[in-house]
């Protein structure tokens, strides 16, 4: 039985002028124990999909279930199995960290679990903040409390909706070590993120959404293998030759060009030399998830593993 199952999920709502189709026939399963990544540009429908899973929004069509329990008709059982870390940095200003965690556990019928709360607090580096009011915490600290709140009832399935947006490097490391360990202990993890290197490092399987549709769904390794495998990276101040300008990815001075094999690398270098471009800090590396992502988002045909 899948940990999470999306079946033909659709979501439409009335926009300013027309009907907006936020999700269009989204179907995929996440198996128990997976570390699964959900990627896509802003507005692709990632958060809408998570909201339907969490009960924050209702699907216009299709079904979603958690460990076999429908999120609408069996919402209580489904929600007990889910721990959601919301994207927005929200908190209840009336309570201390410990109160907030006890209360959140109580909603799920969990009481007297201070040992687990203490463990969560120390894992997330919040031990000395247990009795501080939520208002007194920094943004990063509030984010950690959100993670603790999602885990306080020990859910088998953990959903993190862009948990590292605007978070410093240290917290990101702490958070990923912690979540990776929970995953090793058997928790299923569904992660949405903008940081593609995070998804590449953590997720065994990835789904990519674009305009409400699944455009890629495969093992991370398969997605990486399936793309042009070599990337040519260098810096330059000169304008690229016309033949290359359209296929290059330019970030400031950094230029990246895809190549499928060594011969194509030679060809690219030759074209650059003819164009009078002197590449600085030249390196040739393997394509990463960002390359796959951009290739797919630029309108390559959908790649969904059977």
């Amino acid at each position: 039985m899948p940990a999470i199952s999306f079946q033909h999920v659709a979501k439409t709502y009335t926009g300013a002028r027309s009907l907006v189709r936020a999700l269009d026939d989204v179907s995929f399963d996440i198996e128990p124990g997976e570390f699964f990544g959900l990627l896509g540009p802003n507005g692709a429908g990632k958060t809408t999909l998570i909201s339907i899973l969490a009960g924050l929004a209702r699907a216009s069509g299709g079904t979603v279930s958690v460990l076999g329990h429908d999120v609408v008709s069996e919402y209580a059982v489904a929600r007990r199995s889910l721990g959601i870390v919301p994207q927005e940095l929200v908190f209840d200003p009336f309570f201390t960290v410990r109160e907030a965690l006890r209360i959140q556990g109580g909603y799920f019928g969990v009481h007297g679990n201070d040992a687990w709360i203490d463990e969560l607090l120390s894992e997330l580096g919040l031990a000395d903040k247990a009795d501080a009011n939520m208002r007194q915490l920094s943004g990063g600290m509030k984010r950690r409390v959100l993670v603790a709140q999602a885990l306080v009832h020990k859910p088998p399935v953990i959903v993190l909706d862009e948990p590292t947006a605007g978070v410093d490097v240290e917290l990101r490391q702490t958070l990923w070590q912690f979540v990776a360990r929970l995953n090793r202990q058997g928790h299923t993890v569904l992660l949405t993120t903008h940081y593609l290197e995070e998804a590449e490092a953590l997720c065994g399987r990835i789904a990519m959404l674009k305009q409400g549709r699944v455009v890629a769904l495969d093992k991370t390794s398969a997605l990486l293998a399936g793309t042009a495998s070599t990337m040519l990276r260098f810096k330059t101040d000169r304008a690229l030759p016309v033949a290359l300008a359209s296929r290059a990815r330019v970030t400031g001075r950094i230029v990246q060009l895809q190549a499928h094999d060594a011969r194509e690398v030679e060809l690219l270098l030759a074209t650059l030399r003819e164009g009078g471009v002197e590449p600085e800090d030249l390196e040739i590396g393997r394509a990463d998830l960002e390359d796959v992502f951009l290739e797919i988002m630029q309108g390559e045909p959908a790649r969904v593993a059977a």
Binding site: R79, Q104, Y107, G109
Partner: protein
């Protein structure tokens, strides 16, 4: 089942703790307001207004002020808690929890009743300095206080779900709740009004809450307490039914 009950209990506890943590603002302030009304109106009108035989104006005013405090604070509790959670976004902690619409209703209306009764008791205790306490038919005091607070807590739930901004909530409070409480006979007996306004007052459910509540103190009232019970009871069932329905469909909270 145990989990369901404990979830409801936790939410009720959280809602009570929320207002208790700021009790200076949520309990002490409304008590002071009511006492100021009593001092001013009691002083000005004590020798001029006689509503019931053998009941001084200050004594007459006290139950009205107590009930007004109960009603306004019950409304304020659920409505302000909900709108704050909606606007700050922390309602998400409840939305992801396995709480039924009954759990939400019982917790929000229940905490409103607790706040209403706590403030009402506070007002009553302070007014003991001004006039001796009478309680001719005390069961009416309890019945109308609880039923009125429950209805206003439910109405606050509806307003909290409906309002998207603080000014919409303020409008609800200033243009509906305030006129209905002030025009319900808190400060006067509706028998003293011209017959047209008497008729209008009889359409106001708040009138029956105040009149029935006051009956418990003096044993006399403008209308039969049974009629008041029927009206307030029906209003409670209607308003709480609407609140439960809105919670069940996730009105403006589950999109």
């Amino acid at each position: 089942m145990n989990g369901v009950l404990s979830g409801t209990r936790t939410l009720l506890y959280k809602e009570v703790l929320r207002f208790w943590k700021v009790s200076f603002q949520t309990v002490a302030a409304p008590v002071l307001t009511a006492v100021l009304y009593l001092l001013i109106f009691g002083h000005v009108l004590e020798d001029h207004v006689k509503v019931f035989d053998q009941v001084g104006y200050t004594s007459f005013l006290i139950p009205g002020l107590v009930m007004m405090s109960v009603l306004q604070n019950a409304f304020a509790n659920s409505s302000s808690s909900l709108i704050q959670s909606k606007i700050t976004g922390n309602l998400v902690f409840l939305l992801v929890a396995p709480l039924s619409h009954w759990a939400w209703f019982i917790a929000y209306a229940g905490a409103s009743m607790v706040r209403g009764v706590v403030v009402g008791t506070g007002v009553l205790l302070v007014t003991l300095w001004f006039a001796p306490l009478q309680a001719a038919e005390p069961w009416w005091i309890v019945v109308f206080a609880l039923l009125g607070a429950g209805m206003m807590g439910s109405l606050g739930l509806i307003a909290g779900l409906w309002a998207e901004k603080f000014d919409q909530m303020a409008a609800f409070q200033n243009f509906i709740i305030m006129p209905m409480t002030f025009l319900s006979g808190v400060f006067y007996s509706v028998h003293s009004l011209p017959s047209f306004w008497q008729g209008v007052s009889h359409l106001n459910p708040f009138f029956y809450m105040i009149d029935g509540f006051r009956r418990g103190f003096f044993g006399v009232s403008d209308v039969s307490p049974w009629l008041s019970l029927a009206v307030v009871g029906s209003a409670f069932v209607l308003v709480s039914g609407i609140a439960l329905h809105l919670l069940r469909i996730g009105y403006k909270i589950r999109h």
